[in-house]
């Protein structure tokens, strides 16, 4: 596997580089082309959203970055390494669609899980738990068990868990997809604050056009059958984004372009 040069002379460091990336699942009904010829570069510090209808391969792409799926063609490098090497060096934190908290662990113990596995000392664990719990506004809920928290709080805990160790890359697979709109708005603006506070690179899969436009510096529009990238939009919105930025003409223009991209990729009528 060839490795893309991670750092050009002047530009920012490349975190994710995909070239002609393809992934085909063999199923009983024949091969399914989940990804086909995906070319994409993600620089350090970017907030990249992947948007598209179900089956467009956005989650598969994220899982491929995480080395949870193996590409069948093309090259993919993470921080100049193969996905497997990147996973082994714990280069990323992954936030799943569901919080995936372990129900027998308290919230702080859930946040401590990656720290225990990665061998952090007890004092370092305590310090990091404190820091990340503060970061996601869950201070005071350390001793609660997951079922004692609302869905939004559980998902915040799972974000804290992904932030607890030193990964510069955060992979988020529709983390707010199961939450209602009010909670989602709130968590979106919190996520932006968190992003600017931590300077991480974030890859964010979503179904929602407003969410993608509101959060991202770069929006990757994908279409299904086979999963491919139809448009890559660099956002012109300022980095500081209050929620009412969503009423501005600039925002609406970007949203319109995303919608056009989705329409070009066909079959996205059901989503506003």
């Amino acid at each position: 596997m060839s490795v893309t040069s991670p750092n050009n002379l002047s530009g920012p460091a490349v975190v994710v580089a995909a070239e002609h990336l393809g992934l085909t699942f063999g199923t009983n009904d024949g091969p399914v082309h989940a990804l086909s010829d995906v070319n994409l570069t993600i620089d350090k510090g970017e907030f990249v959203s992947f948007i598209g209808p179900s089956g467009c391969g956005k989650t598969t792409f994220l899982r491929t970055i995480a080395d949870l799926e193996q590409p069948t063609s093309g090259t993919l490098s993470i921080n100049g390494m193969t996905p497997q090497q990147a996973r082994q060096t714990r280069a990323y934190g992954y936030v799943f669609q569901a919080p995936a908290l372990y129900p027998w662990r308290t919230i702080e113990k859930n946040v401590a899980l990656p720290l225990e596995i990665m061998g952090y000392s007890a004092s370092q664990q305590a310090q990091r738990i404190k820091r990340t719990m503060d970061l996601v506004n869950l201070a005071g809920f350390e001793k609660k068990f997951p079922w004692q928290l609302s869905g939004g709080m559980q998902q915040r805990a799972s974000i804290a868990r992904a932030l607890a160790f030193d990964a510069d890359l955060l992979l988020m697979d529709e983390p707010f997809g199961a939450l209602d709109e009010i909670v989602r708005d709130h968590l979106n603006s919190e996520l932006l604050k968190l992003w600017s506070a931590t300077q991480k690179t974030i890859c964010f899969v979503t179904h929602s056009i407003p969410e993608a436009v509101y959060l991202s510096t770069k929006i990757v529009v994908m279409s299904p059958r086979p999963g491919r990238v139809t448009d890559i939009i660099e956002s012109t919105l300022p980095k500081d984004r209050p929620l009412d930025i969503r009423e501005t003409p600039e925002f609406l223009a970007i949203a319109a372009r995303v919608r056009d991209g989705l329409r070009a990729g066909h079959s996205y009528e059901e989503v506003v």
């Binding site: 372990y102 990665m118 079922w147």
Partner: protein
């Protein structure tokens, strides 16, 4: 009140049925007794009371069994062979040892099966097949051969040897529910919980101790409750074929040799009380573990 009332209603119904059945089943013998003694015109109430107080009834009445239980537990020193507590202890020690061995074996097999595809395919059919052999056919074999090996080849004294042979039968019966339950339990973590471990590059033992094992706890305790009851059955069955002199099984057998139905029934009661206590003990441990693991109170 809402919980005890239905239970008491059912209990009352059982007792009523029991006493009615005792009249019907003991009546022929009672008529015989009257006939041989030349007694005639027995009042109905006298007849009924007599059927409930025979010395060797076909079906002893509840109060006869309870009296026998009282006399053989509270009224006798627990180290005397007349004491049911003595016999219950003998059976319990084999049950406990067998349950311990069976549970460890079951858990060990489940761990092997979950972590290795070859053992999964090769062991599972044999584990299932092991339970298709009637334990009654196998028990005498194990007890006799096991006892001979323990005392003869291994030079173990007779008492521990007898205990071990019975415990092996208990273990044979109890490992199965534990193995099957734990295979399911260790496989119960969801795909994303396992994916999460993979993103941390966690080792197999970390995945086991931090995810699979705690995730399997509810399954473990359900299996243990079945396993402990099966262990008791195994221990009693192990006491039947060998002419054992101690244990609830021996008590059952002796009772049936001499038609001591009251003794049989009180041994049966003792066995079911012991089973209930064992299951309650497992449930208590389950509740303690559950409280530590933050189980949502239902």
């Amino acid at each position: 009140m809402t919980r005890t009332l239905p239970i008491l209603t059912v209990l009352l119904a059982i007792v009523v049925l029991w006493y009615l059945a005792a009249i019907a089943m003991n009546a022929p013998w009672q008529t015989d007794v009257y006939k041989r003694g030349g007694i005639e015109n027995v009042p109905a109430t006298q007849f009924v009371l007599d059927t409930w107080n025979q010395e060797k009834p076909v079906l002893p009445a509840a109060h006869q069994v309870l009296t026998e239980l009282w006399n053989t537990t509270v009224m006798v020193a627990p180290n005397k062979p007349r004491s049911l507590i003595f016999h219950a202890w003998v059976t319990f020690s084999a049950t406990g040892l067998g349950f311990l061995m069976g549970s460890l074996l079951g858990i060990g097999l489940a761990v092997l099966i979950v972590h290795n595809d070859a053992t999964n395919r090769s062991l599972m059919p044999w584990i299932v097949a092991s339970q298709t052999i009637p334990i009654l056919a196998l028990a005498p074999l194990i007890v006799v051969i096991g006892f001979n090996i323990f005392t003869g080849t291994l030079h173990i004294p007779t008492d521990p040897a007898r205990l071990m042979s019975k415990a092996i039968i208990s273990a044979y019966l109890s490992f199965f529910p534990v193995a099957v339950g734990m295979v399911k339990g260790l496989r119960s973590p969801e795909a994303i919980q396992l994916d999460l471990m993979r993103t941390y590059n966690a080792s197999a033992s970390q995945v086991f101790w931090k995810l699979r094992w705690p995730g399997a706890m509810p399954y473990l305790f359900t299996s243990l409750k079945i396993g402990v009851a099966a262990s008791l059955v195994g221990a009693i069955v192990g006491e039947l074929p060998t002419g054992a002199v101690a244990g609830l099984g021996a008590r059952l057998l002796a009772g049936s040799y001499y038609s001591q139905t009251i003794q049989i029934w009180s041994a049966l009661f003792a066995a079911s009380i012991l089973a209930a206590l064992l299951v309650i003990a497992v449930s208590l441990v389950e509740r303690l573990v559950g409280a530590r693991m933050g189980v949502r109170p239902s």
